[in-house]
Amino acid sequence: MAQAAIELIGINKSFGAVRANRDINLEIARGTIHGIVGENGAGKSTLMSILYGFYQADSGEIRVGGKPASIKTPNDAIALGIGMVHQHFMLVDNFSVLENIILGAESDALLKRSIAKARSELERLEREYGLEVDPDAIIEELPVGLQQRVEILKALYRGAEILILDEPTGVLTPAEADHLFRILKQLKEQGKTVVLITHKLREIMAITDTVSVMRQGTMVATRETKKTTVEELAELMVGRRVLLRVEKGEAEAGAVKLAVKNLTVKDSRGVTMVDDISFDIRAGEIVGIAGVAGNGQSELLEAISGIRRAVSGSVTLDGKPIDLTGAADPGELRDRGLAHVPEDRHHVGLVLAFEENENSILGYHDDPRYLKGPFLNVDAIISDAKDKIEKYDIRPGNPRLKTANFSGGNQQKIVLAREIEQDPGVLIVGQPTRGVDVGAIEFIHKRLIAMRDQGKAVLVVSVELDEIRSLSDRILVMFAGRIVGERGPEATEGELGLLMAGVEQEAAA
């Protein structure tokens, strides 16, 4: 084994009673790609934040390149050659690539010399690592994949020898992710060390040399990637056997519940995002919409659920029309049995500052069950929330806890419990398991299939192709606002991938 780039010895970190990291030992070899996997809340981010100087360990030692290091701020980490690419990019949207790269590393009071220096340095980095970006492009005009590349360049420009990437593929298309992996491999060949934090096990298998698994603040195992399997890693992460693919019977599709005809939707800038789309969803089936993020899926969901006005087209629910071009009202649609689990649970599906029980009535707060005249029936709301907590195994099981203090998976369960327990005829779900840990994914998928088996119509929109393929009875592929093909669940990933990339095929319906 090569010399260790980083050694973490006996790291402990507590936030109050919560022990985020307990006695972590980790050795990352120089010139390798090291994956760290674990469920949300397992302590991965805390550990990396300690390494990058956002937090300090309560006890334990960090060694960089064999020497004990004291990392008190991100600047210390940068000086030691540690760079970090965050899950949410830290870029100034209206600055150019060059300006972003020198931000915080300007060497002069006047920018001119810094920029000239950065330009030549950037050219060298591009040559060496194949990281092409137009240095004068404005960040907000770049696709996400390129923005991420700027983040990587920022770290390299500061002399990073060790690069930490936190959930780097969450926002990327499959093709962009592949490109990122090629870049990471190239970095490795040049002798850099890469630490990859992710919960996507396939990525770990595809690219890492070594993988460490965290669970509940402890490091449970480190394996050579070649010698492990996805199943083993999943089991280590969750602590029990996990079904990676949900089992389900044949769909028994019944009458049409939701019919969309010639729907066209524009976004706030007036750009057509959904372009003349038609499809039906029948009772007792799950229809999946696959596609790379940003191809109109979000707008489609918002239009059907009454949040966004459509430009033209019609939607009927149980044979009766929904007024989509006028003032559609999500409350009215709820009354008619259309429930919606939105893509963005942080800002749309939940109010994070609310107590859990307050969120468990969001959108249904007009329901007389929860009211006493103009007053909220607090006792009824809390006992109702407790029932859902029990039924959906939401943890921690305290309905008075602030929603922000729940993990992503549990937050999603709060939304799902609320929507499913209203017993809707049609359920539309955006990104059912985004940012949700493996254990909860299995639970959520089972719930959705149970809905289907009860004869409900379910529409699932997801950028996770695996999820679409494992859940759907029919798969619609969206590209540039149109449905470019319909496939059965047996469609291969390659076939769907081509449709998602907009490569039209003869067979496309």
């Binding site: 936030f15 109050g16 981010s45 800002h347 939940l350 609310f354 959108g363 103009p374 909220l376 203090n405």
Partner: protein, 379 residues
Amino acid sequence: MSTPYAKLPAWADYGLIPLINLSVAFIVAGFVVLLVGENPFRAAVILVEGAFGKGTGIAFTLFYATTFIFTGLSVAVAAHCGLFNIGTEGQAYIAGLGIAIVCLSFDSVLPWWLTFPLAIVAAAVVGALWALIPAYLQARRGSHIVITTIMFNFIAASIMVYLLVGPLKPAASQAPQTRNFFAGAELPKLNWIIELFGAKIRSAPLNVTFLLALVMAFLVWLLIWRTKLGYEMRTYGHSPKAARYAGISETRIIITAMMISGALAGMMALNPVMGDQHNVAIDFVSGAGFVGIAVALMGRLHPVGIVLAAILFGMLYQGGAELAFEMPAISRDMIVIIQGLVILFAGALEHMFRPYIQALFASFSPRSVGMEAVKGKGA
């Protein structure tokens, strides 16, 4: 990825931190007093004694506090709906018009206990209507409520000046104010309550509006945390997108919240107009609307906090007046500096000491900042 959190127990969050902020404000104020060559300790004694030392002082402190409770509640109600109502000043000022109409019409025919309810309604309605216009512009036209409410303060001031030097002024008078009200529009004093405790009162304006303010504080608590409307307002205040998703009408909730806010601001006018001056005079609000912003922030938008913060500011007003009287080197403007420091440390720099306190708690008793501690009420 989840972010780790540390939460303080409720008593530290709502008691200790404001107390520390306040102490720092007074320490810095002490240095200012030192700078003008006075003894800060003596100044502090005069301030506190002036506010609470004698019955009269207490009555004055509570009289000022009454005014600030109304404006603080007004700001807080709008803030819970995500709206920054800077127009409390103007809404209170223009509400004086409603009170003037009621009082000048009925003060010679009705007893106070009939005039008072009418005046409450008039003040609330006029205040609410004055807030309606900026609210409508925000909800339907997207005009920023901060800008429009500031402008409406100026419009209100101009209208009132016009009315008080013209139509509302008795013909023979030189003063820009209405005629004095008769007994039918004079509110009973509450000084006897303080006298029950044995304190002596010469003459102080504390009146029944103080009780109205306390009732309103309770009603605001009920509204915000116990009604469907309050729930909708808080939803919109935290996340307009979530409100849209939940089927809450943006127009309706903005207008409703602002009108309630305006009504509370309007009721503030009852205290000086009917309780003290017994006329409507130019500039009778004199900045109480802006103090309301500080009171609401310092009270963490909670009615209990607002009542306490209002009493603190009442103390600064009353004790400050005494201080300016006793120490000639300290002018009224100095008092404004002290108030400014309180606002700075308790409002703007509210979270300055929080990380240190959290670290301290975490090191002494880890459990107290853990998840078990989160059991407090939904404030």
